[in-house]
Amino acid sequence: MSGSPPFRILVAKLGLDGHDRGAKVIARGLRDRGFEVIYTGIRQTPAMVARAALQEDVDLLAISILSGAHNTLVPRVINLLREQGQADVPVLLGGIIPEADRPAMRAAGVAEIFGPGTTIGETADWILAALGRDE
């Protein structure tokens, strides 16, 4: 990615679960692939995540959620992004998202869902493709 400025990505731990090993691995892994990653820390509300995305002017939002509250919380974040003029920011979802919930998540505006077992490389490649830049 030399030459052009690095993409900025917000990795957000949405909701009340405190298990952020996965989010941290993703944050560090994307850093290793040349992204500037802003990590929110755990227990973020939809408003906090949206505010961070706004102030940091991120190119992409990656949400990690393991609590099962995604059906409620993720659409709230996406609505806030739209309200604040960031409808064009792709939203990725990682963590435990049951197959049955995935269509609803996509309908709400989630661009892609990555479950357990996804490699950093796959995620990074997807992001670069989505943001329109090949390595």
Partner: protein, 340 residues
Amino acid sequence: MTAPAGPMSPEHLAERLRDGDMRSLARVLTWVERRADGFETLLGVLLPHAGRAQLVGISGPPGAGKSTLIGRLVEQYGTVQRVAVLSVDPTSVVSGGALLGDRIRMTDVSLADNVFVRSVATRGTAGGLSLACWDLALVLDAAGYDPILIETVGAGQGETEVRYLADTTVQVEAPGLGDHVQALKAGMLEVSDIVVVNKADRPNSAQTAARIRQTLALGMETGLAPHAFHGQANDTERGWVQPILLTDALAGTGIDELQARIAEHRDWLCASGVRGDVERRRAARLLNLLVDQGWQARRRAMLEVAGWEDAVEAVVVREQEPHAAARRLLQRVFGDGSGS
């Protein structure tokens, strides 16, 4: 992305910033940080609106509690005025990426409408700041944020760049991070305006503060009082004695006192006339940095022509002594005896 969306003039954008539109501000910061087309024009439009804010540098070793302390300060400022934070973390020299994690300690204040927090990666700039920080601070200043708190990368011994950008510098230390000799070395401690010993709940915090006080007192005796650089009268002679404060950022104690001292330093800068020196120093440093940047790009090409590769090879095989090789290169570039 280059410019903020829409056919918006720099004047219009500047107005949006001053009206407190966070989206415009965030995009302008990106625009300026990337030095995208038109950024100089935009900075020129913002320039007359800047110069009011107090820029406060917050430095200290990793883990001293800088981010938590800033979170507390912002909590207090945010109730009465617009306050911004520029939080700098290091870029990986290997990947060019960065993990910016300072927001984690500031979540209590992240939703206040008076507060704007922006994470910045160093992107190859040494000294604990990103070169872009100078421009970003100007944008936040023009947008009406005051104070602007600038958190450097975890630092303290060599990363003293922030003292040139900031009006006021706060050095945050914590007990248990080093022995007495660490305090005797050098770094931000001797050029900061306010010293904070955070984690005051720890049993040896008073001892740490005492050691710092001794070190600074020794500096006074040997004539090396803070800010005695550039041959100017030092700050102590002009009436500012570095306070050493104890805080416990997690519990929120000592924050009032720190806030009061930061305000006091600003008043002193104005009353003593030192503010003018600070502004001159800041302007000269930024110009110097920018000229250096352009200079380095051209330098490379000039050295190639002067026989850079051969010189490297000669040093590798120990045929030439490095100092002599460097001098010869400079002589070829300038065609004279410079470089001696």
